[in-house]
Structures are given as structure tokens and as C-alpha cells.
């Protein structure tokens, strides 16, 4: 007794759906609530006995077939539940013919189904058969697994299959064998789909990333082929309304929509998902909506608006394992989606129950600029709602509004996407960070004895009117260096200098400091204001910027040295990078780009090893010991005044807790620069006092700041000098630079400077035609370039490429 519903006996109400389509469309536009008038039901599921591989619906939208390795059943979709109608797996012995990779229900004939078996057999089933076994025909022409079967949308007897063996076959169900065979000349076919509008056309997708279009009448050659994805294209779907649109999904996690009307297939939309895309299905009645599910890792079903590719417009999260099949329940109803999954469940999803990530998304953005400006973008409705408040107090510029006009053709549940952007500027003086840049550039962190480093840094801080920091450096020198290295004259000198700040020092307590710091920084901000533009320049001009600083700060580096001929020596390159003339003599030269292609694995260089460590012979005054009982801050000032300091001995790590507190204090104040600089200069003396994580935190913050100010060289030096493992390996990652040969414009696969295709040296200067050793700049557009100096000069007069290739070069 066949439980299948015989054709024509289904309730008239269900069949009425297509007829009442225009009415339904109107309703659907008017609101989601009325949309279910034609079909009704709720979100529901049923357990299958085994994982499903594919599902397909009957044209009447009342039955669904589920196929998998161990399951092949038809379920009736009722108001409240799924009801098992028929089990097509009959027979005692399990046969591989029942192990389905794909299943499809004919959209013209309710009795006709086709399955693709993993062993390469294509089977058709006729539900009208009176016997228990509904198997109709068996085509064993494919040599490998058949991945996909597809019925012709209007022709009853035409079936298409695509297989792992690289062939597509077209079957006429009235004949025993295939009518025609199409060879894709490629490994395997992943999907085949008849075009809905073009009677003769079908699309096939391949494992090598290609999509081919075939004319069913011409099995000898494809009509058109293009590469759609990087890696296999798992699925495709023709747009049900728009004739030329084909959506494809691939292993490269992309969903792409192609316009096939033009001579060359044009990619018009692209959605980036988070996992490889297993199925795509256009949503009925919604021109831009498409449902996808993924093959691995991600179990959700997404419905995307292809025009808004960053956030899915709806999401169904019911499945607990990957979804293997999705299908819209009815050709013209956009609210019901059926899905089968590896977790052995069959679901009916209702659109109104879908979660809409857009609701949960925060359509606000907030970002600080380097100079303390604050930009804030938010949904317009959020801002206008409290318009009585005046949030734009510090706003100097006009708030900018971006608005998108609502699309009147948009049917429903459109979420407004207009937003407003406001920029808040901080006033110039308080926001300036010039002191930071100057300090970063001028500090000496290594390469000299500790005392000299401290002196130098104290002088730098002093020069920028940061007296407190200057004092700290001076004190550090006193604490950690022995008498021998500190000349008394020098000491007096610094003491004398320091005395100006002394009243402040003596009077402060912990609470006073912020204000003290504040005033201090404000001072040098106003002083350094004129520099702001320089800093804004990009890295190529920092060289000049550096030079500028050197001059003004009276450094002993001759200015023309920095601008000297780049070609002279490769080392020059690195010497220029260093602000501090002493650093480059030491071991800190950057790895030369061309040669150490492997990671250069250095043990953490303990930066100060070569310095004399005088820790074992300190000189500290006896009265110091008493002051320890006082607050640490006060003891500082005492130390700095006391001259008897050098006559007595006390282990230098005696002060470590105080120094540690000082560093913590600075870091707490936001002056992570001082903390890190002291940390580097003192090296092992203080390192153990502060836990690794805090150190790492300081380093990352400082490096981040340096990089925001485009002080690349300094940040790299800091990375190099740091003793934290995590920091140290920062500049050992991503050290590969991909370049093109300037002759043949192909990527240089070879290491070194000779292109192995054209056997020429790739790094010729386009201006002087000499080989560039040293700073080489090149245009990423045309691969031509040359000496930095020459190119800069050239670009002053011309914007075209000096090589004469006609490219309008862009250098950033």
C-alpha cells in the first residue's frame, strides 16, 4: 500500500498558492505577519535516524525527501510536525545505490525523484509504482561518485548529473542510456544546475575553481568558462527571476554573484563568510537575498542580502552539526526554509523566528586619533533620540552625517542604515604629543654605560621641561652606578640643574603628581606645536624629520650624513634608522633584508651585558637607611640632595622596590614611555622585580604608541632590546617581503636580486640605471623604482614612472 500522495489528490488550498501570488506579494510587503497566509506552520524539527546529505521538496510544498548514506525517506510537512510518509530504503541488504550524495524532486511531476549515489550510480524513483520498491531506473555510467543531479525545470524527462570523474551526463528518462556526455576536462564536477530561463543552458562548477556554461545541444565544447573561486566551487544557483545572475559558493569561503549577461562573466556581489560554502539558494521573491550553509565548522544557516555583505540579514542557529541541505519550502514563499543536517535532524525554519544579527549588532563606532581627537559614529536614531541633550560640546568641526535613502522597492524588515558621524577635537595644547615623539627619538637606551645613558636621558627630559622624569633618571644613575663612573662635577651639574625643580619635588605627594605632570606636559606641547605637521608625514619623510631634530637638539651627528648617498654602503641604511648615534655601533643593526631568510633566532639579548655591572659595590649613605621608613617619594628627594650618599655602601637592589614603584607609578600615569625606557636601560637590575605580564603589557603599549606615531625605527629598537620573549619575537614574524621583477613584472620567486625568469638584476634604478644597494623604493603598481633620492627628485617634476612605462606611480 503506497503511502505516497497520488498526484492530483492534494488539497486545493495548497495548490492555490501560485495562483494567488500577486496578492501574496503585496501582503508580504505590508508586513511579515501576513506573509504566512498561504503556507502556515511553525519552527519545528524531527529526528532522522541518520545524518542527511541532501533534501528536496515536492512542488506542492507539502512533502520533503531526505537522503543520506543511511537514510532515504519522505516526510509530510504538517502544521505542527513532520510525519514520515514513506521509506524508500527497502530490501534486506543495504545497497550502495541507496547511499545518496544528492537527491532532487522533479518540479513538474510529483512522482518523480532522482538520487546520486556515492558509488557513481544515478537512480530514478517513481512514487506511482504500486510495489514497495519504487526504484525506477538505474544509470551506471559514471565511474566515480556522482555529486549532483538536476532535473530540467520544464522538461519532464531530462535529467542531468555531474560526477567526480569529471563528466556530466544528460539522461532521457525514456531511454536506458545517457543521451549525451559532457567532458569538463577537469577533475570533478561539484554541481550542475539548469538555467531557469534559458531552455538549453546549464552551469557546472568544478573542483579546480572553474565554472562552465554548456549548451545542452552541444556536448563537444562548453560555451563559456571562467574561474570563479580559488579552490573548489561547491555549489551554484541561478537566480529565479533575474535571468543572468548565477550565485556560486566555494571552499575559499566566498559567495559570489555573477552577471552572465555580458560577454565576460562579471562579479557583481561578493559575500565573505566564515567557512567554506556548501550550498547556496536564492530566496524566493527577494531579489537580493540568498541562503547559505557551510561545509565545515559552522553549523548555522545564513540569509544574506548580497548588497550588504558584512552582516547576514537572518540566521538560523538550530543545528548542532553542519547543515548539509537547505531548500525553500515553496517556490514563491520566502518565509519557510527547510534544512537537513549531519546531526540527524530535519528542520523547518520560519523567518519570523530567525535571529537577526543586525538587531544585536552595535551600529556604533568610536575611535581615538593620535592627537586625542575622537570620532563617533552611530545610528542616527540613537543620536536624535536624545537631541535635547547637547553631546557635541568639544566639537570643533561640524558633525558629518551620512545618510542612505531608504529604498522604496525594499519589501520588508528593512533596517535603517543611516548613521551619523561626529568628530570631537581636543584643543591643540592639551592634545599634543610632541614631547612623546621627541623623547622617543632622543632617548638612548643601550650601547653606553648605564651612567651615561641615565645622564643623557635626564638631559633629554630636562630639555623638554619634564623635570620629574629628569630627576628620576638622575636618581637612577645615582642608585645603580658607582662613584667611579660619576664625576663629581657632573654630579654637581645635574644636582644644580635639578634644584630648580626641587621645590616641586619636595612638596609633592602622590596626589599632587597628576597635576604636576599635566602642567609640565602642557608646557612642552605649546612649545612643540609647530612640529605637528612633520610628524604627520609618512615614514619616507621621517628621515628628513629625524635630521631636523638632530639639528635642533644639537646632536653630534652631522646632518648631511643622514642625507648622504644611499648607495654608499648598505650599512648606512641602518645607521640612518637610528636616532641615537651610539646605538648603531653596537649590536643592534637590523637584519639585512636580503639575506637571512630564515628566522634569525637570537637568544634574548640581555641588552646590558656588556656594561659594567657595579651592583656589587654600591655606595649609599647611612642616613639613607633611615629614610626608608619614610614614604618612598620623600626618600627620593632626600637621596637627590644628600651628598654623603657616596660614602657608604648598601646593595643597590636595596632600592629595587622603590624603583619598581616608580615605574608602576609612571605606567599608571599613562607615561609608559618612561617605564619602558627605564626598564630597558636598567635591564637585569630591575627586571625580576616586575612580573612578566606587566612588562609585556608596557612594552606592547609603548610599541603600539610608537607605531602610531610612525616611529618604526624606534619601535623596532625597543622590540629588539626588550627582554620579554613575547615581545622579542614580534619582529621575527612576517619578515617576508614579496616583490616583483621590474623587467618582467612577475613575482620574484627566487631569493636574492636576480630574477630567474629574465636573468637580470631586478633592482635597477629607473633613473640612473645602476643597481641599487641600499634604500630601494618602488611603485607597487608597475614594479619600477630606484634610489630613494632619485625617485623623490623625479617625482617633483613628473608624476609618471621614470622607466617610461606610462604608469602614474603612486608612492605612499
Amino acid at each position: 500500500m503506497p503511502p505516497a500522495v497520488p498526484p492530483g489528490s492534494e488539497p486545493a488550498s495548497r495548490r492555490g498558492v501560485p495562483a494567488s501570488r500577486p496578492a501574496m506579494e503585496k501582503m508580504s510587503r505590508s508586513g511579515a505577519a501576513l506573509g504566512g497566509a498561504a503556507l502556515s506552520g511553525r519552527t519545528m524539527f524531527c529526528h532522522l535516524d541518520a545524518p542527511a546529505n541532501a533534501i528536496s521538496v515536492c512542488r506542492d510544498a507539502a512533502q520533503v525527501v531526505v537522503a543520506g548514506r543511511n537514510i532515504f525517506k519522505i516526510y509530510g510537512i504538517e502544521e505542527e510536525q513532520f510525519v514520515e510518509k514513506l521509506n524508500l530504503r527497502v530490501g534486506r541488504k543495504p545497497s550502495l545505490n541507496f547511499s545518496c550524495a544528492d537527491v532532487v524532486w522533479h518540479q513538474m511531476d510529483e512522482n518523480l525523484l532522482a538520487t546520486a549515489a556515492t558509488n557513481g550510480v544515478v537512480v530514478t524513483w517513481n512514487l506511482g509504482k504500486p510495489s514497495r520498491n519504487k526504484q525506477d531506473q538505474l544509470f551506471t555510467e559514471h565511474k566515480r561518485t556522482v555529486n549532483k543531479v538536476c532535473f530540467h525545470p520544464t522538461e519532464v524527462y531530462m535529467l542531468l548529473s555531474g560526477s567526480q570523474d569529471g563528466y556530466m551526463k544528460c539522461f532521457d528518462l525514456r531511454k536506458k542510456d545517457s543521451v549525451s556526455t559532457f567532458s569538463g576536462q577537469s577533475e570533478s564536477v561539484r554541481d550542475v544546475q539548469f538555467s531557469i530561463r534559458d531552455y538549453f543552458t546549464f552551469a557546472a562548477t568544478f573542483e579546480n575553481g572553474n565554472v562552465q556554461l554548456w549548451d545542452i545541444r552541444r556536448p563537444d565544447r562548453y560555451e563559456r568558462m571562467f574561474t570563479a573561486h580559488n579552490g573548489p566551487v561547491f555549489c551554484c544557483d541561478w537566480h529565479p527571476e533575474d535571468r543572468g545572475w548565477l550565485a556560486t559558493g566555494g571552499r575559499d569561503k566566498m559567495v559570489k554573484v555573477w552577471d552572465m549577461n555580458t560577454t565576460r562573466a562579471k562579479e557583481i556581489y561578493c559575500v565573505q563568510t566564515i567557512a567554506s560554502v556548501a550550498r547556496v539558494k536564492w530566496r524566493p521573491e527577494c531579489k537580493h537575498h540568498i541562503a547559505t550553509c557551510s561545509m565545515m565548522v559552522d553549523h548555522n544557516i545564513y540569509v544574506w542580502d548580497v548588497r550588504r555583505p558584512f552582516i547576514p540579514s537572518a540566521m538560523f542557529e538550530e543545528h548542532k552539526d553542519v547543515t548539509t541541505g537547505i531548500v525553500w519550502r515553496h517556490l514563491h514563499d520566502p518565509y519557510f526554509l527547510l534544512s537537513g543536517s549531519k546531526d540527524s535532524t530535519l528542520y523547518q525554519h520560519i523567518f519570523k523566528d530567525a535571529s537577526q544579527p543586525i538587531d544585536r549588532a552595535n551600529p556604533e563606532g568610536l575611535c581615538y586619533s593620535l592627537y586625542g581627537d575622537l570620532a563617533f559614529a552611530a545610528k542616527e536614531s540613537l543620536i536624535s533620540s536624545d537631541s535635547n541633550r547637547k553631546p557635541y560640546i568639544g566639537d570643533r568641526r561640524h558633525p558629518i552625517f551620512f545618510k542612505r535613502k531608504l529604498d522604496p522597492t525594499e519589501q520588508f524588515e528593512y533596517i535603517s542604515s543611516s548613521s551619523a558621524l561626529s568628530v570631537f577635537e581636543t584643543d591643540v595644547e592639551s592634545g599634543s604629543m610632541d614631547w612623546f615623539v621627541h623623547t622617543a627619538k632622543q632617548y638612548a637606551l643601550a650601547g653606553r654605560p648605564l651612567a651615561e645613558l641615565c645622564d643623557h636621558n635626564a638631559k633629554v627630559a630636562k630639555g623638554l621641561d619634564r623635570n620629574q622624569v629628569a630627576q628620576t633618571w638622575t636618581m637612577l644613575r645615582i642608585i645603580y652606578s658607582s662613584l667611579g663612573t660619576v664625576s663629581s662635577a657632573n654630579l654637581n651639574h645635574s644636582m644644580g640643574k635639578g634644584s630648580a625643580a626641587l621645590p616641586l619635588m619636595n612638596s609633592f605627594n602622590l596626589k599632587d603628581i597628576p597635576s604636576g605632570l599635566g602642567s609640565e606636559s602642557r608646557l612642552d606641547r605649546s612649545k612643540g606645536e609647530s612640529r605637528t605637521e612633520n610628524i604627520l608625514l609618512d615614514s619616507s619623510s621621517t628621515l628628513i624629520n629625524n635630521e631636523d631634530n638632530e639639528e635642533t637638539e644639537g646632536s653630534d651627528v652631522p646632518a648631511d650624513y643622514l642625507l648622504g648617498d644611499v648607495e654608499a654602503d648598505e650599512d648606512d641604511l641602518y645607521m640612518m634608522d637610528h636616532e641615537n648615534p651610539h646605538a648603531e655601533e653596537q649590536e643592534y643593526s637590523l637584519p639585512q633584508e636580503a639575506f637571512p631568510l630564515r628566522h634569525e633566532i637570537v637568544d634574548n639579548p640581555s641588552a646590558l651585558d656588556h656594561l659594567q655591572d657595579k651592583a656589587d659595590s654600591p655606595h649609599v649613605s647611612g642616613n639613607e637607611a633611615e629614610t626608608v621608613s619614610l614614604t618612598p617619594v620623600e626618600s627620593f628627594s632626600l637621596i637627590s640632595i644628600s651628598h654623603s650618599l657616596y660614602e657608604n655602601r648598601l646593595p643597590s637592589d636595596f632600592f629595587n622596590p622603590i624603583v619598581r614603584d616608580t615605574l608602576l607609578f609612571y605606567a599608571e600615569q599613562g607615561d609608559v614611555q618612561t617605564a619602558v625606557s627605564v626598564l630597558i636601560v636598567l635591564g637585569d637590575r630591575i627586571r625580576k622585580e616586575i612580573d612578566e605580564q606587566t612588562q609585556e603589557h608596557w612594552y606592547t603599549s609603548y610599541i603600539d604608541l610608537l607605531q602610531r606615531f610612525q616611529l618604526w625605527n624606534i619601535s623596532n629598537e625597543v622590540i629588539k632590546l626588550s627582554t620579554c620573549r613575547a615581545i622579542n619575537c614580534l619582529n621575527q614574524a612576517s619578515t617576508t617581503l614579496h616583490i616583483n621583477c621590474s623587467n618582467c613584472k612577475r613575482p620574484m620567486s627566487n631569493r636574492g636580486w636576480i630574477c630567474d625568469r629574465c636573468r637580470q638584476c631586478a633592482s635597477m634604478c629607473a633613473v640612473c640605471h645602476h643597481v641599487v644597494k641600499g634604500l630601494f623604493v618602488w611603485c607597487q603598481g608597475c614594479s619600477h623604482g630606484g634610489h630613494l633620492q632619485h625617485i623623490m627628485k623625479w617625482l617633483e617634476t613628473s608624476s609618471h614612472c621614470p622607466a617610461g612605462c606610462g604608469h602614474l606611480c603612486e608612492y605612499t
Partner: protein
């Protein structure tokens, strides 16, 4: 000795710039010959010997040779290479001689030399198939030296662990050197129990992957990822798994092709004058039990018949496949039968070889070896290739957690699987895909992976018993491979091609050993993929 060695600098020799090499060589020569050869420690000399024999750059070879003879003139005994070329199975005269390679091979050699600082024997054997070698080197370089979640010394240590599972002293030696070179702690080399707990935890997975990957479950993965401290991150685990499988299968290749020890490693050279004896230490240390060439060589006519017969069979299978309609049950039982039979395909010389002490300290539990499926009544469900395949699932998972590696592996699998010159012995334009697929699927079958769309009866038709023995040994217990096994399969190919050596215009194809090496590449990649599939499936299950 260590201090004196400090004088001798090897860097710069790997440079592509001839001038830089010349300078480095000059310096090297001076350092060695200075002070009457006082710096000429045996290790330095061995390294020089390696350079003299196995450097892709002619200038380096010549100069090293010169330095060595300079040392000899000083009255110091210099080493000479032991063994006979890069492989014990392949006669030296058939391998590519360094210096005689064509342009493409030279590029590959130079590449390998520049990145590794050496040209190892594996490379010299693989170069029979340069297209594959390129992909192999690229992958290996990425795994060991490029960006990745694991620190460099961990990577080499994992390589050692994996190779040690198969008692492959060749790979262990190689990576012990590399491990120390990247700053690994020498203490770890005393055994796994001296390594960090984190690596010790990996031991169990290593063991199972190497011998019984089908037993890996998501619980194993969970154990690695969920331990309070010393836990692995997913990305690290993937990296480790790829490394483990890479070295397991490379160990198969090493034994399968009988790779000789490197010249500068222990057992690769001797300081004894050649006349003393022909006794080869290396054969013992690697667990080779005597090299016997006693197999009766078949007459040429006979072997030609074998090739003909094989081709005839392939043709038959091709033709009759459409007509002969095997029932579904028949197909299913054929797989089971092949799976079962693969158990009984055992090498006759099943004697227990005690691993050398040197290698055995790297792994515990020596008794744990490949055990056939369901031999002990355990029923393990068959792994269906259609349900979890490399192309659809494995690739995505690997690439997600360890970017770019999925792509590299994918390329490597493809090249190995599709590698063909369309020749079979002296026959040209033969479609060998059927044979390649049979080998590939046979290996997967041994691991319980079944392809629904494959008729396992074909395997029986195409692969004869001696070949099956060889495959099974190399894949499951590579350390037991012997030269006799190697010689006993596909004799016809070797012998029938020998007569043709001078006739064929393509030098590569005349090399008699190329097909054997080709088979080995297939074995390597099929095994790697099988192991990976099991491990990745477990990880996927853990993640869902």
C-alpha cells in the same frame, strides 16, 4: 673541540652570490689549515667532505676538495664517504650525480641548499621527480621555518619524535642537528621524559597516528586541549599533527628507498682507509639485516611478459567495467576482503629488530606497533571517504587553523597523485591512472578508508603479492623494509628499462629507479593523507 670549532664558520657558503661564497671558502680554508690543521676536528672534516660531495655549487665542491687534500698533506687522516650514493637500494650510477643535474634540478638543489644548508639524500632521491620535489621542499620549509604557531625547536623535536616512532635514525640524526642549531635544549634529547610536559602529552597521539590512527577519538584531542596547564591550542595542535604525519610518512620514504645516512652524520663516513673492510656500520644501525642480492633475476623475456600482462589487465578492466555488473553486496565484500587480506600480507622476515639505543630513547613503549584492524575482535567502523574527505573537509580545517598549509598540502597530494609520464616500461602513452588509483586506494584500505565508488577487485588484479608486501611493509612497518622486498616488485620495470637506457631521448625516464621512487612518493602521500584524515576528523568532532 667545541671551542676550536668556533673558529670555523660555515655561513656564507649557502649564499647564491659566488663572490660571497668565495670569500667564505677562503676564510674556511684558512681557518682549517691554520695552526697546522689544529682546527681540523673530525666533525669539521666530515662536514667538508659533505660539501665536497654534495654541494650544488661547483666552486664550493672543488675548494672543499682542495682543503681536504691540504689537510691530508698535513698528515691528518681525512674521512671518506661510506655507503654507495644517497640510497642503498638504488645503484649509485643511476642516481643523479651532483654536478650533472639539469637546470631545473640545479635550481631545486640550490634552493634546498640555501634554505637547509645542505643537500640531503632524500632530496637527491626525490629529484627523480623534480615537480614533486619542488612542492615537497616548499611545504617542508614552510612547516619548519616559516610563520607558525609552534616555536622552531618544538618543530624539530616533534620531527624527532615522529621519526623515532619508526626508528628512523636517518631523520632523527638530521633533526637532532637542526634542533640544537635553533637553540633547543640538549637535555630533551635524552628522552621524551626530559622534554616539557606539553610535548610528553603529544606522545600518545604520536604513537596512535603512526600505528593505529583509526583509534583516535575526540577524547584524545580533548585531553590535549583541555589539560589545565601545558595545554595545546588548536592551531598548535594542527601544526603538530601535520608535522607528525609528515615525518611518519617521510620515515616510510626513507626506509622505502633505503636512504643512506648523510655523509657528515654518524655512519656516513669513515676515517679508516678503504682497504680495511667492506663492513658497513650503517646497515646495522638502521636495522637493515644484511643486504642480499640473491633474488633470482628473471630472464628479460619473462619480465617483458609481466609488463604486457599488467597492461593487458588494465585494458581489460577498462573495457569490461561497463559490462560486468558486480552486485552491490559483491562490491562491499570485495572491500572487506581486501581489508582482511591486507592483514595477512606480511613480510616473511618478521623478526623483531631491536632498535638502536640511540634512537629508542626518543620514544617509549616500543611494543606499540601497527596492529591490523579488528585482529583482536575490535570492530572499527569503516571510514567512508565520501563522508570526510581531504578536499572538502580536511583542507578547510587545516587552512582555517594554520593558514596556507592546507594549500601547500593540497598541492603536494595532487602532484603526487597525478604524477605520470604516461609510460610503462618501454611503452609510451599509457594511462597509468588506474594503477595509481589502485595503489592509493590500497593504502587507504589498509587504514580502513573506503571509497564507495571504487571496485576493490581491481586491486587484486593489478597489484601482485610481492608488491603488496612491499607497500604494506613500507607503510605500516617501514623499519622492516629490506632490499630484497624493494627488488622483488616490478622487476620488469627495472630490467626492461635497463636495456633501453641509451635509446630514450629523455634522460629522466631512462632512469630505472624512477618508477620505484614514484611508487614511494605515492605511498608517502597516501599514508600522510590517511593519518591526517583520521586526526582531522577527530579534531572536527571535538569542535562540533
Amino acid at each position: 673541540m667545541e671551542e676550536r670549532e668556533g673558529d670555523v664558520r660555515w655561513d656564507g657558503l649557502c649564499s647564491r652570490d659566488a663572490a660571497a661564497r668565495a670569500a667564505a671558502l677562503e676564510h674556511l680554508g684558512q681557518a682549517v689549515l691554520r695552526r697546522g690543521g689544529a682546527a681540523a676536528a673530525p666533525r669539521v672534516l666530515a662536514r667538508l667532505l659533505l660539501l665536497a660531495k654534495r654541494c650544488p655549487f661547483r666552486d664550493v665542491r672543488e675548494k672543499s676538495e682542495a682543503i681536504l687534500s691540504g689537510v691530508q698533506e698535513l698528515g691528518i687522516r681525512i674521512p671518506r664517504p661510506l655507503g654507495h650514493g644517497p640510497s642503498r637500494f638504488i645503484p649509485e650510477k643511476e642516481t643523479i650525480q651532483v654536478g650533472n643535474e639539469d637546470a631545473m634540478m640545479h635550481t631545486l638543489f640550490a634552493e634546498s641548499f640555501a634554505t637547509l644548508g645542505r643537500l640531503d639524500n632524500v632530496t637527491l632521491v626525490m629529484v627523480f621527480h623534480p615537480q614533486y620535489l619542488e612542492s615537497f621542499l616548499k611545504t617542508q620549509h614552510y612547516l619548519l621555518q616559516m610563520d607558525g604557531p609552534l616555536p622552531l625547536h618544538y618543530r624539530h623535536y616533534i620531527g624527532i619524535m615522529a621519526a623515532a616512532r619508526h626508528q628512523c635514525s636517518y631523520l632523527v640524526n638530521l633533526h637532532v642537528n637542526d634542533f640544537l642549531h635553533v637553540g633547543g635544549d640538549p637535555k630533551w634529547l635524552n628522552g621524551l621524559e626530559n622534554a616539557p610536559q606539553k610535548l610528553q602529552n603529544l606522545g600518545e597521539l604520536n604513537k596512535m597516528l603512526a600505528h593505529r590512527p583509526w583509534l583516535i577519538t575526540k577524547e584524545h584531542i580533548e585531553q590535549l586541549l583541555k589539560t589545565e596547564e601545558n595545554s595545546w591550542s588548536l592551531a598548535e595542535l594542527i601544526h603538530a599533527v601535520v608535522l607528525l604525519t609528515h615525518y611518519h610518512s617521510l620515515a616510510s620514504f626513507t626506509f622505502g628507498c633505503g636512504i643512506s645516512p648523510e655523509i657528515d652524520c654518524e655512519g656516513g663516513h669513515t676515517f679508516r682507509p678503504p682497504s680495511v673492510s667492506n663492513y658497513c656500520i650503517c646497515d646495522m644501525t638502521n636495522g637493515y639485516h644484511g643486504v642480499d642480492d640473491i633474488h633470482a633475476s628473471p630472464t628479460t623475456t619473462e619480465s617483458v611478459c609481466e609488463v604486457e600482462a599488467l597492461m593487458e589487465k588494465m585494458k581489460q578492466l577498462q573495457e569490461c567495467r561497463d559490462e560486468e555488473e558486480a552486485s552491490q553486496e559483491e562490491m562491499a565484500t570485495r572491500f572487506e576482503r581486501e581489508k582482511r587480506e591486507s592483514m595477512f600480507v606480511c613480510s616473511s622476515e618478521d623478526e623483531e629488530s631491536a632498535p638502536t639505543r640511540d634512537v629508542s630513547r626518543h620514544f617509549e613503549d616500543t611494543s606499540y606497533g601497527y596492529k591490523d584492524f579488528s585482529r583482536h575482535g575490535m570492530h572499527v567502523p569503516t571510514f567512508r571517504a565520501q563522508d570526510y574527505s581531504w578536499e572538502d573537509h580536511g583542507y578547510s580545517l587545516v587552512n582555517r587553523l594554520y593558514p596556507d598549509v592546507g594549500q601547500l598540502l593540497d598541492e603536494k597530494f595532487h602532484i603526487a597523485y597525478n604524477l605520470t609520464y604516461n609510460t610503462m616500461a618501454m611503452h609510451k602513452d599509457v594511462d597509468t591512472s588506474m594503477l595509481r588509483r589502485a595503489i592509493w586506494n590500497y593504502i587507504h584500505c589498509m587504514f580502513g578508508i573506503r571509497y564507495d565508488d571504487y571496485d576493490y577487485g581491481e586491486i587484486n588484479q593489478l597489484l601482485d603479492r610481492s608488491f603488496k608486501v612491499y607497500i604494506k611493509t613500507v607503510v605500516c612497518t617501514p623499519e622492516k623494509t629490506t632490499k630484497r622486498m624493494y627488488d622483488s616488485f616490478w622487476r620488469q620495470f627495472e630490467h626492461s628499462e635497463k636495456g633501453q637506457t641509451t635509446l630514450s631521448p629523455l634522460p629522466l625516464l631512462t632512469t630505472p629507479s624512477a618508477p620505484q621512487v614514484h611508487v614511494n612518493l605515492l605511498l608517502v602521500e597516501a599514508r600522510m593523507q590517511a593519518e591526517l584524515l583520521y586526526a582531522l576528523r577527530a579534531i572536527t568532532r571535538y569542535m562540533t
